[in-house]
């Protein structure tokens, strides 16, 4: 199947998507890259961003937070930490989480706890960033 790309998106909890598609745009740590059939083998880490799945003129968007992408002759595999179809993303949920985490950062008793809380906060901030950019 040289004219279609075999694409798989898996998160630890389940296999989210397995399909033959035309092209996938992947948010790599060093920049977005499009993967089409017969792409050269690549392994890349992901940043928080949007995966765009192009197939037969349609574009499906999925939010992905961290993980890996592997391209090999068999196709593209994305191992995401968290992944959700953009339509199912509940922005209010993340906003509430951000508020919680900001409080956590303020309430942190020692440096260790603070660093952990800040890391969790930054993660949510990056998610909201992506969502805002997408909505704009």
């Amino acid at each position: 199947m040289a004219d279609k790309l075999h694409f798989e998106l898996v998160s630890p909890a389940r296999l989210l998507k397995s399909a033959e598609v035309d092209m996938v745009v992947v948010p790599g740590t060093e920049g977005d890259f499009g993967v089409m059939p017969l792409h050269a083998p690549v392994v890349s880490t992901l940043r928080t961003g949007i995966i765009e799945v192009h197939d037969a003129g349609d574009v499906e968007k999925l939010l992905v937070v961290g993980g890996f992408a592997e391209v090999n002759p068999a196709g593209l595999t994305i191992l995401a930490e968290t992944a959700l179809p953009l339509a199912e993303v509940d922005k209010a949920h993340f906003e509430a989480e951000l508020k919680d985490l900001q409080e956590d950062v303020q309430d942190a008793k020692d440096a260790d706890e603070k660093a952990r809380a800040e890391k969790a906060r930054d993660r949510v901030v990056s998610i909201l960033d992506v969502l805002n950019r997408e909505a704009a």
């Binding site: 630890p12 389940r14 083998p41 090999n72 002759p73 191992l79």
Partner: protein
């Protein structure tokens, strides 16, 4: 011979026990279904992860100075055995089998002169192991508050393992858990978590091409390896949960059947002795009447 009232009481108590075991069987049957689905849903991720790792590992082969999580510390003197069991009892041979396999391994390691430390997940295995190896147990993870296991429940455990490994407290880490085969069969499996056990066969053959890495090989491996440990652990815990429910279901099914047999035999005894009492009374009345 036991008197009639005693027999009646026993029948009543066995009947209520049977009701309990029957209910437990149904509960674990429905829980099993969910646990099994979760375990099966987690398989693709773990498998793909293994594929990616194998591809990476085979392309890294021959290069010196790979990350310690992959290459090991160069020694296998100090072993850490992680034993994952359930939080609840009454599940047949489930915990016993895991503990038995772990014990055999620990004994053989000790015989070979290795240093062994033990970490337990789940309190059932901990209680048994503590009797024999109290001085070797260094940590216990309690998952009794967890209803539906999520990936976030496995990450603290894997983070702890990696931290201890990087602090140089052990060289090899093996995880014992029961792999879910089907409702009747659970297979106790030892899985080497650190250094990562890589199946060279499962990687995709690239032919002449080789991977490009973004950012670079080392960074990716450094992120991927800890992640792999968390994923393998998560998967093992899910398998364990499914096995536990399967094992409990079978055990409770047997218990229900045994209770049924017991009730039958008690009822026969009860009816016989009731008849004997009646016959006795009749004989007394008749012989009393004859004596007049």
């Amino acid at each position: 011979m036991a008197n009639l009232k005693d027999l009646r009481n026993r029948i009543a108590s066995v009947t209520s026990t049977q009701k309990i075991t029957k209910a437990m069987k149904m509960v674990s049957a429905s829980k099993l279904k969910r646990a099994q689905e979760a375990a099966e849903a987690a398989r693709p991720y773990a498998e793909r992860m293994e594929n990616v790792l194998s591809s990476l590992a085979s392309s890294m082969k021959g290069q010196a100075g790979g990350p310690a999580l992959l290459a090991g510390t160069g020694s296998d003197q100090r072993h850490l055995v992680v034993v994952a069991t359930s939080e609840r009892g009454l599940c047949g041979g489930f915990n016993t089998n895991i503990v038995k396999a772990a014990k055999a391994k620990i004994h053989s390691l000790v015989r070979d002169g290795k240093d062994v430390t033990i970490v337990t997940i789940g309190k059932k295995g901990r209680a048994v192991l503590r009797r024999e190896f109290a001085n070797k147990m260094i940590e216990h993870f309690d998952l009794s508050h967890v209803k539906n296991l999520r990936f976030d429940d496995a990450t603290p455990i894997s983070a702890w393992l990696i931290e201890k490994y990087e602090a140089g407290e052990f060289d090899v880490c093996t995880l014992f858990f029961a792999k879910f085969v089907n409702v009747l069969t659970q297979e106790v499996t030892p899985l080497q978590l650190i250094p990562a056990s890589i199946n060279e066969e499962s990687g995709t053959d690239l032919g002449d091409a080789s991977y490009e890495y973004e950012p670079d090989e080392k960074d990716i491996l450094e992120e991927l390896l800890p992640r792999n440990i968390a994923v393998q652990l998560f998967r093992a815990l899910l398998e364990n949960a499914a096995s536990e429910q399967g094992s409990r279901m079978t055990a409770m099914d047997n218990a229900t059947r045994n209770a049924g047999e017991m009730i039958d035999s008690l009822r026969t005894t009860y009816n016989r002795s009731r008849q004997a009492v009646i016959t006795n009374e009749l004989i007394e009345i008749i012989s009393g009447a004859e004596a007049l």
